[in-house]
């Protein structure tokens, strides 16, 4: 951990940081969409490693696990929707690359200038013995409102995702007022109401 700011941990954090940015750049450079997905996964895993060095064990593990699954799903979507999933021929699908590069580099420069010119406050307090316990107590105590809102948001996401991804719902089958006696199915024999 970085508690004692030892040299090798700082070096590890620096290497992981460089790796995360390099993987992020690789996402938009490689031809293969599958490779791009796994480059993004590499970026997330590097960030999870940095969080681990910061003693944020729970957040690091959640990031690593969640992103591994998420990128596995994303790889499937890439193969489904992209023309060149295996990267067998070079191709680019971009619009306004110069303007986008200017905006991206501008955001980086503005943020970096701010980071290196701000007079950062001194660190207050010591690291807790268990950062996961600190987060758990906050979730169940002082910051419960955040978790309530997050919970409602995730529930709304489940509903909205299902509604959007459903090919034919009951309104398609029984009409806008759900009054049809027989369902309007492309192949007869579907489930009745």
């Amino acid at each position: 951990m970085l508690t004692d700011l030892s040299g090798w941990v700082i070096a590890t954090v620096a290497v992981l940081g460089l790796l995360s940015v390099a993987s992020g750049v690789a996402v938009f450079v490689v031809d293969s969409m599958a490779r791009a997905t796994f480059a993004l996964l590499g970026s997330f895993l590097a960030v999870a490693g940095v969080l681990l060095a910061f003693d944020l064990v729970y957040l690091a593990v959640v990031t690593a696990l969640m992103m591994t699954i998420e990128m596995a799903i994303m790889a499937v979507f890439m193969v489904m929707f992209m023309m060149n999933p295996a990267g067998l021929m070079p191709m680019t699908m971009v619009h306004n690359p110069k303007g986008s590069a200017v905006v991206g580099a501008g955001a980086f420069v503005v943020l970096t200038v701010g980071i290196w010119t701000i007079d950062w406050p001194a660190r207050r307090g010591q690291l807790p013995t268990d950062s996961t316990r600190q987060l758990g107590e906050a979730v169940m105590g002082s910051h419960m409102l955040v978790m309530l809102i997050v919970g409602i948001g995730l529930f709304a996401t489940i509903l909205a995702g299902t509604v959007l991804a459903t090919a034919r719902g009951r309104y398609d089958r029984f009409g806008a007022d759900l009054a049809a006696r027989r369902p309007d199915d492309p192949v007869p024999g579907g489930l009745p109401r």
Partner: protein, 105 residues
């Protein structure tokens, strides 16, 4: 090396991730690649939250909560992004943002 210097270095890395992600989200034509750019931006926010917690106020859980919110936003963005991608492809065979410019603002 002081904690402040570590904070500045890690925040610079986070700024790099945000910059790269912004470039990707603005330049890519594929809807899924745009989502990847947005994920990189959120990755930078996650890293910045962790660094702020460690270097500024480890006694308070606020920065950890920010990181949790960033993770949740990532999950919501992916789920809704994939659902919208499927819905618009099913309705209009659109898989690139340039093919749906009539949805512009």
């Amino acid at each position: 090396m002081t904690a402040e210097l570590v904070l500045q270095i890690v925040l610079t890395v986070a700024a790099g991730l945000i910059g790269v992600g912004l470039f990707g989200a603005l330049s890519q034509q594929s809807i899924v690649m745009v989502m990847m750019g947005l994920e990189l931006v959120l990755n930078g926010v996650l890293l910045a939250g962790g660094a702020a917690w460690f270097s500024l106020a480890p006694e308070l859980p606020d920065a950890q909560m920010l990181a949790v919110v960033a993770l949740v936003v990532m999950a919501v963005e992916m789920a809704m992004g994939f659902a919208v991608t499927i819905a618009i492809y099913r309705a209009r065979q659109v898989d690139m943002v340039d093919m749906a410019t009539d949805l512009n603002g």
